[in-house]
Amino acid sequence: MIDNKEILEKIRDAQNDTRYILDDSTPKKGLIKTLTIWFLSYLIFSIILYFISNYAMTSLNENLFSLVRVMTVILFLLTIVIYVISVYKIKMTFKEKDFLTFFTCFIAIMAFIRMIFPISYWLKADFLLSIFDSFPIESLVVILALFVLFNYFRTKTILLIILLNIVGEIAVVYFISSFLNSNIPTEMMIKLYDMSMILKNNGGFVMISFAFLLILLNLKKV
């Protein structure tokens, strides 16, 4: 016969174990939903801006350039707003909500990087542009964001995406610098330089990394 004190201890232990087990699990339903909504908004806005800026380049219309600048700032501010609304509107556990609230800083930095170009034009802050031009800073932020996500999910698959980012970053820096340092660039060098610039200037690192991540999460591999 178990005495009452022992029963009470067993009850408390069972309740504490339950809390621990629940906290130990990694809820992801709400997290995936929120990241997918943010990612889709980021992807759609990037595609829209890519086509408008290409059109502006060919038509060389100053009004269109101004429109692209204003739209860039508005649309990327909107990605942050969409993310924050999703965090508060989508049903999720406290653990997911806490994580996504903290993750807002990465979302804001990724949006800000896309806004550097128009902001530097208005503020005449050339130093901002020189940072943006000299280094794929976006990739660095994506790597940090992926490390934070790895810390949450604790799955090696995310490390693979981080590795891909590092390789991509090295390749982009190499292609750009070899093109700029070459007196007579070959056709291949020009193509690789163009590709690197498209990737760097249009949020390529963010889109590719998060596309991979969300596909893996939806396939239940993470």
């Binding site: 067993k10 069972a14 087990i21 992801k28």
Partner: protein, 100 residues
């Protein structure tokens, strides 16, 4: 001994430490079979028997839910019924009173 008798009279469910553990953990949150097994640390056979007894008494119920981790698989979620929750609260009250 009088308190013990009163506690036992509440329901034969509380005669088993494992059933008390199951009920206590379900007061925190609905749980899957695997989570209950982890908490109670008993064999599958024993756990099934205790779960069956609790379902039979109307203290817990279950529902099948889609498993987010394994595609095309469903897992069973156990939770306390209103009767189960009320009886467990009464049990806790009696237990606390007996400790004074």
């Amino acid at each position: 001994m009088t308190e013990n008798k009163t506690l036992s009279n509440l329901s034969s469910v509380f005669d088993s430490a494992t059933r008390i553990q199951i009920m206590a953990s379900l007061t925190v949150s609905p749980l899957t079979y695997a989570q209950l097994k982890k908490i109670c640390q008993v064999t599958d056979g024993k756990l099934f028997r205790h779960i069956d007894k609790l379902i039979e008494e109307g203290f817990i119920e279950f529902e099948k839910e889609r498993n987010d981790d394994i595609k095309y698989k469903r897992h069973t979620i156990y939770q306390l019924t209103e009767t189960g929750r009320d009886t467990f609260q009464q049990f806790m009250k009696l237990l606390m009173e007996s400790m004074i």
